[in-house]
């Protein structure tokens, strides 16, 4: 994989965000650069949940942050409606932030420990919302209630008095109080226990329906991503491998990396035998010096010389199912 190409992009129209050739690089000292994201393209249709999945270091969080220009990508385009976000001035971008909101992995660290919950949730309103104190309070109370936090009990407490799950609810409340179009969730449940994780996932589904949200859901847990997504994009070492609908992807993984990921998931079912033959003693290569051609080839059982020489392009294997691989595990339609 590790492909580029845009075959999987959908026609304009309902597309809310369209990302093309996104590149994000960071300096790594000694003049080297970490190639965190290397030319990926995807789009997000209004009302859908795009799941972005991959292992640590694959660039999924960087991609999420590049959407809101924190930091701005090294190159590429992020178009929101008719506006090119990468060309906006800092001030103009700041003004657009109400449309795109973000929640983070560590629910406790994402709330300022020295402020009360009421202040934290009202902060976006202080920047953007109605100025009246009573109006603000009403909005805050309504949103806290919607995320399942009792406003009267919580308003004057500080974050450390709440559990991780409750803090994540408060974070969600803060991002929704300005009524955004798009909510980027960066590993929102990976710091939480299973039982709490389910609460938050259900909550996100409910809020999405209630507020007509579009979601980008970034996670490393394939089961979680499958549960919430309408479309899933698999990332590996700064590149997209495969894009498909969740049920289709999990039933017919076309990319060897997707297959490896799926085969590695421990299923809570003893009758599903563990696949001990799944040979992979490979290691993630360094993002400073990624392999040529397909970036997965160093670990790929299908790899050929072609994979080293030429970077695979995104192509459609089944309707709505795209893969960037020279040797996909599913026959390519029309070949």
């Amino acid at each position: 994989m590790a492909g580029t190409g845009k075959a999987h992009l959908r026609p304009e129209g309902d597309v809310l965000i369209r990302v093309e050739d996104l590149v994000v690089e960071f300096p790594a000292g000694r003049g080297r650069t970490v190639k965190a994201v290397s030319g990926i393209s995807f789009d997000i249709v209004k009302g859908e949940t795009l799941g972005l999945v991959g292992e640590s270091g694959c660039g999924k969080s960087t991609t999420g942050r590049a959407l809101i220009q924190l930091p701005s990508p090294t190159s590429g385009s992020v178009r929101h409606g008719f506006v090119e976000l990468t060309e906006l001035s800092d001030e103009a971008m700041r003004r657009r932030r109400t449309d795109i909101q973000m929640i983070f992995q560590d629910p406790i660290s994402s709330l300022n420990p020295r402020r009360t919950v009421g202040e934290i949730v009202a902060e976006p309103l202080r920047v953007w919302g109605p100025k009246g104190a009573a109006e603000q309070k009403a909005l805050v109370d309504r949103i806290l209630d919607a995320v399942g936090i009792d406003p009267d009990l919580a308003r004057d407490k500080r974050p450390h008095e709440f559990s991780g799950g409750q803090c994540q609810r408060i974070s969600i409340a803060r991002s929704l109080v300005v009524d955004p179009e798009l909510l980027i969730c960066d590993e929102p449940v990976s710091a939480l226990d299973v039982s709490v994780q389910a609460q938050i996932l259900n909550l996100l589904e409910d809020l999405k329906a209630e507020y007509g949200l579009t979601l980008v859901f970034i996670a490393h847990d394939l089961a979680v991503v499958k549960n919430v997504s309408d479309r899933v994009a698999v990332m590996y070492l700064g590149k997209l491998c495969e894009v498909a609908g969740p049920d289709e992807l999990y039933a017919n993984a076309a990319h060897p990396y997707t297959a490896l990921l799926l085969g590695s998931i421990p299923e809570p079912d003893p009758s599903a035998a563990v696949d001990e033959d799944l040979v992979d003693d490979g290691e993630l290569p360094s993002p400073i010096n990624p392999p040529s051609g397909c970036r997965f080839r160093t670990r790929c059982p299908q790899a050929s010389e072609l994979c080293a020489d030429e970077e695979p392009q995104m192509r459609e294997v089944l309707p709505g199912h795209h893969v960037a691989c020279h040797h996909p595990l599913v026959a390519v339609a029309g070949q």
């Binding site: 809101i68 924190l70 700041r94 003004r95 657009r96 932030r97 109400t98 909101q101 973000m102 929640i103 983070f104 992995q105 560590d106 406790i108 660290s109 994402s110 709330l111 300022n112 420990p113 020295r114 402020r115 902060e123 976006p124 920047v127 953007w128 974050p159 450390h160 974070s171 803060r174 991002s175 300005v178």
Partner: protein, 274 residues
């Protein structure tokens, strides 16, 4: 708070009040009154009811001089703490948050000032300024206190900036200025306060050393350091004039350290609970 820490805190409070309201304390003598000139007291008197801590080699009341001497320590250390936290704290938090060229430039100058051993730089500046009244000493010590606070505040601000709530504030679209004031600074404050307590003790010792060398406020104005210096010569005849200001100095610094440790410990417990 343990009893012992309370005692230390009590001592500090007593010192501060004594220094501020020295003129109003009933029965406290004029620190510069030389009784032997008028035949009311002798030089080097041992402690007695009229002179609780005795008199020095100029027959001045030691207790009164210690109380008035506390003013110097208090003024100098308070100036250092205030200038340090306000100027250094703000500067450090600012450059730690915005980073970039400003940061590099400010920190380079801070590093240059910190490249001088504190007392040596202080000695040189005080000497070259020529004047040695309390105002000059306090201002110089205050200025030289800015760099260490800047460094502490910057380190804290760097750590705070990495926390996700700062990213969250930016994602909301909060202005940088607002983030600095509402998110960064309040979270730097506890660390700065803990540092200030330690620093106050260091400053008191520094001023003491300067005075001991005769380069702080000039006699007859009393400061603990110059009292010790003056008493040094007559150590063979009478130790009391050296003992009392030494004890005052050591107790004050000790109390500051004990109280500072207590605050840091309780803060550590609280932040661990977060």
């Amino acid at each position: 708070m343990p009893l012992f820490t309370r005692l230390c805190l009590g001592w500090l409070v007593a010192i501060v009040f004594g220094a501020i309201f020295a003129d109003l304390i009933p029965g406290l003598q004029d620190p510069n009154y030389q009784g032997f000139l008028f035949g009311t007291s002798a030089t080097n008197e041992p402690p007695s009811l009229t002179h609780l801590l005795g008199t020095d080699n100029n027959s001045r009341d030691i207790l009164a001089r210690i109380v008035y001497g506390a003013r110097v320590s208090l003024v100098v250390s308070m100036t250092a703490v205030i200038m340090g936290t306000v100027c250094g704290g703000f500067l450090g938090a600012l450059v730690g948050f915005v980073r970039g060229k400003t940061d590099a430039m400010i920190m380079a100058s801070v590093d240059v000032i910190l490249a001088f051993p504190g007392l040596v730089l202080l000695l040189t500046v005080v000497t070259l300024l020529g004047r040695r009244d309390l105002l000059v000493i306090a201002t110089v010590v205050g200025f030289l206190s800015i760099p260490p606070y800047t460094r502490v505040a910057r380190a804290t601000a760097l750590a705070v900036s990495r926390r996700e709530f700062v990213m969250a504030a930016r994602a909301i679209g909060t202005r940088k200025r607002t983030i600095l004031i509402r998110e960064i600074l309040p979270n730097c404050l506890p660390t700065l306060m803990a540092f200030a307590l330690v620093n106050a003790a260091v400053i008191i010792l520094l001023e003491g050393a300067l005075a001991f060398l005769g380069l702080s406020v000039q006699p007859p104005t009393a400061s603990w350091g110059n009292m010790i210096n003056a008493a040094r010569v007559d150590l063979r005849i009478n130790v009391w004039p050296a003992v009392w200001p030494s004890l005052a100095l050591v107790f004050t610094v000790y109390s500051l350290n004990v109280v500072g440790d207590h605050i840091r410990r309780s803060k550590a417990v609280r932040s661990a609970a977060l």
